[in-house]
């Protein structure tokens, strides 16, 4: 048997034609949302390096400028739906979709729900944290999360006092945020909880209350010291399991639900974790390596991710260049199972095939049937329109019979679009 290929081996085009329509579509869907015709053209111009340059050094769009100018006002709103609508508007219009996709990933990873936090302001501030730092050093992000007011409310930080430690937060840091089940003991949790005593949210601000902090020695992962919360984060990141765990999250979001080929060895997540660590846990740098790697462009990983409702709906609007009011979009997404700032539990959204329960698929169809009413009918021959949609939405990669239906010229614009948006290929990235 051939020895495994390191997963992040750079992908090498064998000719200029290798930067194909299919690869461009794959990269843009994964690093953002389903692309518009213009985006496809722009990212196709200067081979993969030109495309990566556009993704990682993006130009703000006109929409970015307008939305950024009103963000402060929205941040102060009591109701979390206001910032959610602003955020959706941002996803619809931004020239930097990767930032929003990363923020969405962290929102699901460090899952916090307004159902318990009950403060639009604090939820918005947490989202801003993910938007600002989501592509940076994830160690830094984790430390900031331990001081995040929404998180402190969600996981009972204020109940965690020297005389009465509360393990909720420490447990989730280990189990759901940084290590994964099986990589710590109950004793580790009890001791780590003591390190976070005194971390509190008071009147919407983070405070560290020394008088409530346990200054005694704690033993975590076999190491003893007078640890505080930052020390616990450092102790987690010192362990290989932490990098593996985070790499798994990034892989499941941007590469594949499961690595679909033995070509890269049996322990891809661990290898990716080592790369993440070698890049000083910088998520942006890691994603750049991923997006130009062999494993990323491996045909085994084409269309392996079921789109989340946000990816599906925002992608449809961006690809077809349709205006969708953000408040309506918010409601539609809730029906599809992804109400922003209200993930179902501490584990975030289950994702993958869990998006496909019947009520959720019905809601996707309702969204599709409504959005096509908003599209300005194309002034184009229906046959040509069908051919163009096949390229735009599917990289021409759909069963031959389906392509024939699209190109038979018998359908109205709305019919064609609704048909396309309900084809299974449009629901995967």
């Amino acid at each position: 048997m051939r020895s495994p290929v390191p997963p992040l081996t750079p992908w090498q085009p064998t000719s200029g034609h290798d930067w194909s329509r299919r690869k461009i579509g794959h990269l843009l869907r994964r690093s953002g949302f389903a692309p518009s015709a213009t985006a496809i053209q722009e990212h196709g111009e200067r081979q993969i390096h030109g495309a990566l340059h556009r993704i990682f050094e993006p130009q703000p769009s006109a929409g970015d400028k307008t939305l950024d100018s009103i963000e402060k006002t929205v941040l102060g709103t009591k109701d979390s739906e206001a910032y959610a609508a602003w955020w959706l508007q941002k996803m619809l219009q931004t020239g930097d979709p990767l930032r929003e996709r990363c923020a969405l990933m962290w929102h699901g990873h460090f899952a916090t729900s307004d159902a318990k936090v009950a403060s639009g302001k604090l939820m918005a501030r947490q989202c801003r944290l993910f938007r600002q730092h989501g592509l940076g050093d994830v160690r830094d992000l984790a430390r900031k999360v331990t001081r995040d007011c929404a998180m402190l409310r969600f996981l009972d930080g204020n109940r965690n006092r020297k005389d009465h430690p509360n393990e909720n937060f420490a447990r989730e840091i280990f189990e759901l945020f940084l290590l994964g089940i099986g990589n710590y003991t109950e004793q580790d949790i009890r001791e780590a909880a003591r390190a976070f005593t005194g971390y509190r949210e008071e009147n919407g601000r983070f405070v560290f209350r020394k008088d409530l902090h346990d200054t005694g020695p704690k033993t975590v992962f076999g190491k003893t010291g007078n640890f505080d919360g930052d020390d616990i984060i450092d102790l987690c990141f010192a362990r290989e399991e932490c990098a593996t765990f985070l790499a798994r999250r990034i892989r499941a979001t941007f590469l594949a639900a499961e690595v679909a080929t033995p070509r890269y060895g049996a322990d891809v997540d661990r290898q990716l974790g080592q790369e993440l660590r070698a890049l000083d846990f910088n998520v942006g740098a890691f994603l750049r390596r991923l997006f130009e790697s062999e494993i990323f462009f491996d045909p085994a990983h084409y269309r392996t991710l079921v789109k989340s409702p946000v990816e599906y709906a925002v992608g449809a609007a961006r690809a077809l260049e349709v205006r969708v009011p953000a408040d309506q979009l918010y409601d539609s997404l809730a029906k599809m199972g992804q109400r922003l700032f209200a993930p179902p539990g501490v584990q975030g959204w289950a994702g993958g095939q869990a998006w496909l329960s019947s009520a959720r698929v019905v809601a996707r169809n309702q969204f599709a049937s409504r959005i096509v009413e908003e599209v300005t009918a194309a002034d184009e021959d229906p046959k040509a329109r069908g051919v163009r949609l096949s390229q735009l939405l599917f990289d021409d990669f759909i069963p031959k019979e389906v392509r024939k239906v699209l190109a038979n010229g018998k359908h109205s614009d709305a019919q064609l679009l609704h048909y396309c948006l309900m084809l299974p290929e449009f629901h995967v990235a």
Binding site: P344, Q347, V361, N365, K404, V428
Partner: protein, 396 residues
């Protein structure tokens, strides 16, 4: 039989989408979900606000009741035995009691009662009395345990209660029948979509294949739901909010479109002042809707497999207040309605001579009722779901 596109085209002339869909070969996991011919169904009916249980299942044989309730007492309830009677607005429920379809468990609650609606609902939903409310609820954990995303649906509202939240899933929420309609305003040729877009299996792409199968399944469920929507008129439901919600639950069960458990609520039970008429109206709405639902299940031949569990986050104080209402209380009876129950009144009578802090004392921990429903009705191991060993009750 595996139908490929050519067979379809050859044999499909004049076939409607329904018969076509019905003939599709479903993946095994969908077959298992669709089959379930012997599944049992549960309605969890939450009377939100704290129902005045002493004026619902009335201990009219107890002199103390009449003294504690000088203006609110119901002098002549519909007798269940020589001690208890139902509120006069619960006539249909009384008939079902007489027919052996109602089990009442007295004195259900939790230790150290908390009179906040929110806190009390959190306790009932999470099945935990811990100071820090868990982030998951009993039905959500049951769904986790059963590995069934569609175990519980919220019916008649978009708000998914804590009770339904699992570690990773919160079921679905259906507000009204429109949430189960396959919209097609542009009039796409649905047959063509199915024939070409959805028939061909996507070999080599499990994700696309999963979406394809789920889409076919969803269309099929919508169609079944539509059939039952039009076919359900044989049993008239009262035109009340609760009537509509229970009708929707009936439709979901009958068509096997979604969940095995429907979470339904009826709001308005927080009756602090001049409660006599509004409380009677609420019970009247409950009586009419519940009876129509049961009759509908009988008509469909499902009655033995459907159970309605009625609870409220607390009862109310034994003594009425100065505003002819009642304030937040503690333990209270819960009700199970189905021909499959062990009918009758279970548990000790409320001791109005031994009130604790003005309330009827706790007799049965609410988690024993959950354990009973999980173990005896839904066949889900209750121990990990309820969080410990709670002895089941002889109610089912």
């Amino acid at each position: 039989m595996d139908l490929n596109r050519r067979d379809f085209l050859a044999g499909s002339v004049g076939l409607g989408i329904g018969s076509y869909l019905a003939s599709l070969t479903l993946p095994t996991w969908l077959q298992a979900a669709a089959a379930g011919a012997n599944d049992r169904f549960l309605v969890v009916l939450q009377l939100t606000g704290g129902n005045d249980a002493l004026n619902t299942i009335i201990p009219f044989g107890d002199d103390l009741y009449h003294r504690l309730r000088p203006t609110l007492r119901i002098a002549k309830p519909l007798p269940l035995d020589d001690h208890f009677g139902l509120h006069p607005r619960l006539g249909k429920l009384r008939a079902r009691f007489d027919a052996g379809q109602v089990a009442v468990q007295h004195g259900v609650g939790y230790p150290n009662p908390n009179r906040s609606h929110f806190r009390s609902l959190d306790i009932w939903h999470s099945a935990s009395v811990a100071e820090d409310t868990p982030l998951t609820g009993w039905l959500g954990r049951a769904a986790d345990r059963a590995a069934n995303q569609d175990l519980v649906w919220r019916v008649g509202s978009r708000d998914v209660p804590l009770a339904m939240r699992g570690r990773g899933s919160a079921g679905a929420a259906i507000e009204g029948p429109e949430d189960l309609r396959w919209r097609n305003p542009a009039g796409i040729d649905t047959d063509a979509l199915v024939a070409t877009g959805l028939t061909e299996r996507r070999a080599g792409s499990p994700a696309v294949e999963a979406v394809r199968a789920a889409t076919v399944d969803a269309m099929q469920r919508c169609q079944r739901a539509a059939q039952f929507e039009s076919g359900s008129s044989a049993v008239p439901y009262p035109g009340t909010g609760l009537g509509e919600r229970l009708q929707l639950a009936a439709q979901l069960f009958a068509s096997r479109v979604g969940p095995r458990v429907a979470y339904v609520s009826q709001d308005g039970y927080d009756t602090h002042s001049r409660q006599a008429d509004p409380h009677g109206d609420l019970l009247g709405e409950l009586d009419g809707a519940l009876d129509a639902f049961c009759a509908h299940m009988e008509q469909l031949g499902l009655a033995d497999r459907v159970l309605v569990f009625v609870f409220s986050e607390f009862g109310r104080r034994a003594a009425e207040n100065a505003s002819r209402g009642t304030d937040h209380g503690a333990a209270a009876p819960v009700m199970l309605v189905s021909p499959a129950v062990q009918a009758g009144l279970h548990g000790g009578r409320p001791r109005l001579d031994q009130l604790q802090d003005g309330d009827v004392a706790l007799d049965v921990d609410f988690r024993r009722v959950y354990a009973t429903l999980l173990e005896k009705w839904l066949a889900i191991d209750p121990i990990p779901v309820v969080g410990g060993e709670y002895k089941s009750l002889p109610l089912v």
